[in-house]
Symmetry: C2
Subunit: 346 residues, 2 copies
């Protein structure tokens, strides 16, 4: 297949191998001329994925100059910043330079934006040799350009929030958006959030309450987080339990809510929470798995083994309007902002 015009998911930018999606591609076309539905961004900063930066730093024994050279070489040869070992990318911040006449992203020239799709699929050219970066941090000052496709995700950086805070919010903005949508699909459901004191967890709790949850419980693994979440007041109940222990978790949720949860949101990034989440959820309830440590087969076989009629969702990081919803929660819920600022300061 040779697309004659631009593809909303960027197929026309794939140089090799033929037919691959941009994320799976070996090499992208990074030329600055944009298609009618594309947007070009003047890059100011790259935010490398933590796993990618760690791999590079380890490989080069923390020799920053060698790390810098390899990042430059990756971007030059691939037309994107995708670590060939980890497969991961990161995010970027920049200023909109040119907007194609058919772009639907709602951006204007001069907007300061963060790209919310991964660098691993974003055409990128670096023009300053990363002169302002010593190769010792994931935060990479950079000059050059990046291309956003017709169907892409970028958010304007708000003027009223520090950049680092806004980026941290956008990084987890899928969780509150999907939680709200699921909660709205029930009539005043009870909601349990595993990892309720974390970034995505606190957002999910605030979103659930606002979307009409009858009662919420935040489950946390340690007393320090229990105290933090209690003080924040984001959940009707806070309970201490190890989410990897199904019986203890279900008992904690049922004790707090008076029965299993109608909606359970898994925001704990450790393996082995699938069975507990299922056991803690009511018949015809929904489990939303946001943790990347989720095992597909453990969830599928666990529900069958427990004869549990629950809907299990793979947490999708994208919903229309997700960044605005999350930023709005941060602005209107001082407790959410407090938890975020505390995490950033740690």
């Amino acid at each position: 297949m040779t697309p004659v015009s631009s593809s909303p998911v960027g197929l026309h930018r794939v140089l090799a191998p033929a037919g691959a999606l941009p994320q799976a591609a070996e090499r992208l076309d990074d030329s600055p001329e944009i298609a009618p539905d594309e947007v070009r961004v003047a890059v100011q900063r790259l935010n490398l994925d933590a796993a990618s930066f760690r791999q590079l730093a380890t490989k080069h024994s923390a020799d920053g100059e060698a790390v810098r050279r390899e990042v430059l070489e990756i971007v030059a040869s691939r037309g994107k910043m995708q670590n060939p070992v980890t497969g991961s990318g990161g995010m970027l911040v920049g200023v909109v330079d040119e907007v194609g006449p058919d772009s639907d992203l709602g951006l204007s020239v001069g907007d300061r934006v963060a790209s919310l799709v991964s660098l691993s699929l974003t055409p990128l050219r670096i023009t300053d040799g990363l002169a302002g970066w010593e190769g010792r941090s994931e935060q990479v000052p950079a000059a050059g350009h990046a291309i956003l496709f017709g169907r892409s995700i970028a958010a304007r950086l708000p003027d009223d929030l520090p950049g680092e805070l806004a980026m941290a919010v956008m990084d987890v903005c899928g969780a509150p958006a999907l939680t709200a949508r699921v909660v709205e699909g029930y009539d005043a459901p009870s909601v349990a959030v595993l990892g309720g004191a974390g970034k995505s967890g606190s957002m999910a709790l605030a979103a659930a309450r606002r979307a009409g949850a009858r009662a919420t419980v935040g489950i946390v693994p340690v007393e320090r987080e229990e105290m933090l979440l209690r003080e924040a007041g984001l959940a009707d109940h806070v309970a201490l339990a190890d989410a990897r222990d199904p019986v203890a978790l279900a008992a904690a949720v049922e004790g707090a809510l008076g029965g299993p949860a109608d909606v359970t949101v898994v925001c704990v990034d450790v393996p082995g929470c699938e069975h507990g989440a299922i056991l803690a959820t009511a018949d015809r309830g929904t489990v939303i798995f946001f943790s990347m440590a989720t095992s597909f087969s453990a969830a599928a076989l666990g529900a069958e083994g427990l004869a549990a009629d629950v809907t299990m969702l793979i947490g999708n990081g994208y919903l229309p309007g997700h960044a605005d919803l999350a930023l709005d929660l941060l602005r209107s819920e001082p407790a959410v902002r407090g938890l975020f600022e505390r995490r950033l300061a740690d």
Copy 2:
């Protein structure tokens, strides 16, 4: 936690380690005395999980007698047939022996049943030394007893169908049930089934049509299956595509349905079908992943990278009434039965 009464998920049968669910337990209580909500089944046959049998046969260099001895030893020491290496179990067939007064499974003494929860969590005692088995097949004639919990899944074996056929249907009965529920949640949606000529795929196609799909397409990887599915007439359209090639798959689905599918059902047991399934699905559509080869992170990151607002479901093997629905489809759709019989004969 020491449950004083019986637990619907069998916690009272767990001997070690404390607090584990029966599936994760090292050892279960296999005693024949039943709790008020339990059912005891006189075992006739075990159907070992294919992965488990392969591991045992390989370990013992196909020495059937050694395989038989190890299965006996596993069941005697663990109180269940769970292969310690693969973690998997299998199914069993037997006759209901005693029904507790509080059992909700709807079974009567004398019913011939198949247990649809895994042997890996089912208390089991073997009393005949597996004398009728030579250790050379997954089909194990056996005498003894098994226990079904309050919340378990068992289906009466129908009188009008050969046992092997009924078992094959029950093995995939989650697919048509969940497909029907999702299709009914839309208004006359278009439906694509990847792997439409297989067991779960053909069931999903028949269930989608019956549940009100406007149009269906079965996607198959090879010409022989294309011909089979076309002759069966189970789908409005049949198209040939490699489900691991996102662009080709999306083109095939859109070509057949006139646009992306509202509901996409993944029944192909090979890795790498996540991005194609997402790309082939319409905005606000649903992807149901039934394949155990599904990667959670590939699905989650893929949807985000494609800015795809799709609901992604982990295929749950259990829904109330799923076995009856599947058996009914088999009886009323000669084409489904034909495909199943052909697969069993292969």
